[in-house]
Amino acid sequence: MRGKVSITGVGHTTWGKHPGRDRVALIVEAAAKAIADAGLEKDEIDAVLVKQPNSAPGILYGQKVAEALGLRPTIGLNLDQGGAACTSLLQYGSLAIEAGMIKNALIVYGDTPRTGSRAALHRPRGDDAIMGWYSVAAGYAMIHQAYQQRYSSAPEEFGIFAVQMRANGAENPNAHLRSPLTMDEYLAGGKLIDPLRKDDFCLVSDGAAAIVIGATADARDRSRAVPLLGMGQGQESWEVHLRPDILRTKAEDSANMAFKMAGIDRKDLSFAQIYDCFTVTVLQTLEDYGLAPRGTAGKKALAEGIGLDGWLPLNTSGGLLSESGTPGLQLIIEGVRQMRGEATLQVKDPRFGLITNQGGTMHTHATIIVGQPS
């Protein structure tokens, strides 16, 4: 498996607002860029793997996207796995390439929750809605509360992640939100659901992104093909309050699988692009991954930094908190830019990069580790 499949092309629309634009049209725009970046003709794509748009889930959505792309692919599907879906789709595509079923897979996402419907983000949560249990954010607030109670953590331990992602986004000309954030501004941020502050929330962004994967040996330009070295998944699945430990998910298993497959240690990482839908997600992921002891991720980030010269450069294009609030592909694309040496905030000579995606309220999780082009 290790390195046999590469990410050969990436593309995305602008992030932010696309009033009146059709979701599928945004996907086609991003897909065309990714296919061109891979040096492929459209008809060389034989898998169209789509992440379900949360604001408008549809039946046979994968086929609708393939039709708009003018394709009749070998594999075509739409996956509902929340924010882990794009990384999981990349993994399934790579398995199909290895099995010889397909040659090039296109993984795409596009949605317009910013200018369209945010109902999915604010929705009543099943039978518990009668108690007032609404919104996606509330589940993360529940985890954030449990975290700060267990570890007696200071708000700055969460704020450091918002501050750094916003600093990174400010440097990214394509970021949705380019205004930096000070710690004082973070601490003064209003609260929608305690204990979350305004800047603990990621952005809600319109936009589409796409990547193309194929056999490394077949890449048109090997110097820009970023090999997939390790991958893993772990599905917690259970609702937050029903988990044996509110502060444990299966992300740990996903990481262990990916590091084992890649054959590298934690200390070998040059950077990480971590799914930062809320600040607590970053702390939890760093700790689930064994990159920081339990209860210490924020303290470590404050003490040692998470910028380019820090302990571990994180979300170098701004992540969901600043670059784009879209679910995960932008993190993979930034990982590719880093390994190609094309990032705005470029890590010097990166060897191994980590990308994490997760969805629901830490219900789903997927990991990839990428390496240097050959």
Partner: protein, 135 residues
């Protein structure tokens, strides 16, 4: 009116009937002994359908909580600010609830003891709790 009236099914009817009768019930697996909520047809541990409803002591412990300062539905505006709290019953089943004497969350803590305090809202009996020892 946006009040989310629960959808009553054959599986969850004993839960809501129990609350209307003044008791909180949970499901017990007669095969493996597991206790759980919310209502299901099968034990999520051993998948047996051989289950029964049992009355809870109504006593439990706080796992975590949040406090809403924004109303995500019109009917919630009058309740602001309000808490949603995760509680583990002494019998092991868990549920999301509200703490009636939590002082907008200020008196809540992980591990705090709580007891059942059923309240009626829009004709539905709801499993709310109160702190046993509010400080």
């Amino acid at each position: 009116m946006s009040f989310p009236v629960p959808e009553i099914t054959d599986v969850n009817r004993p839960y809501w009937d129990g609350l209307a009768a003044g008791e909180l019930r949970y499901q017990h697996c007669k095969c493996c002994g597991n206790n759980w909520l919310p209502a299901r047809e099968h034990c999520p541990q051993c998948l047996s359908a051989d289950r029964e409803w049992r009355p809870s002591s109504g006593k439990g412990t706080i796992l975590s909580w949040v406090v809403y300062r924004h109303a995500y539905a019109p009917h919630l505006a009058d309740r602001l600010p309000y808490d949603v709290t995760a509680v583990e019953l002494d019998e092991g089943a868990r549920l999301l609830t509200n703490i009636v004497n939590g002082d907008e969350g200020r008196k809540l803590s992980v591990g705090a003891r709580v007891e059942l305090c059923i309240e009626n809202e829009e004709g539905v009996s709801l499993p709310r709790f109160k702190l046993t020892d509010p400080k």
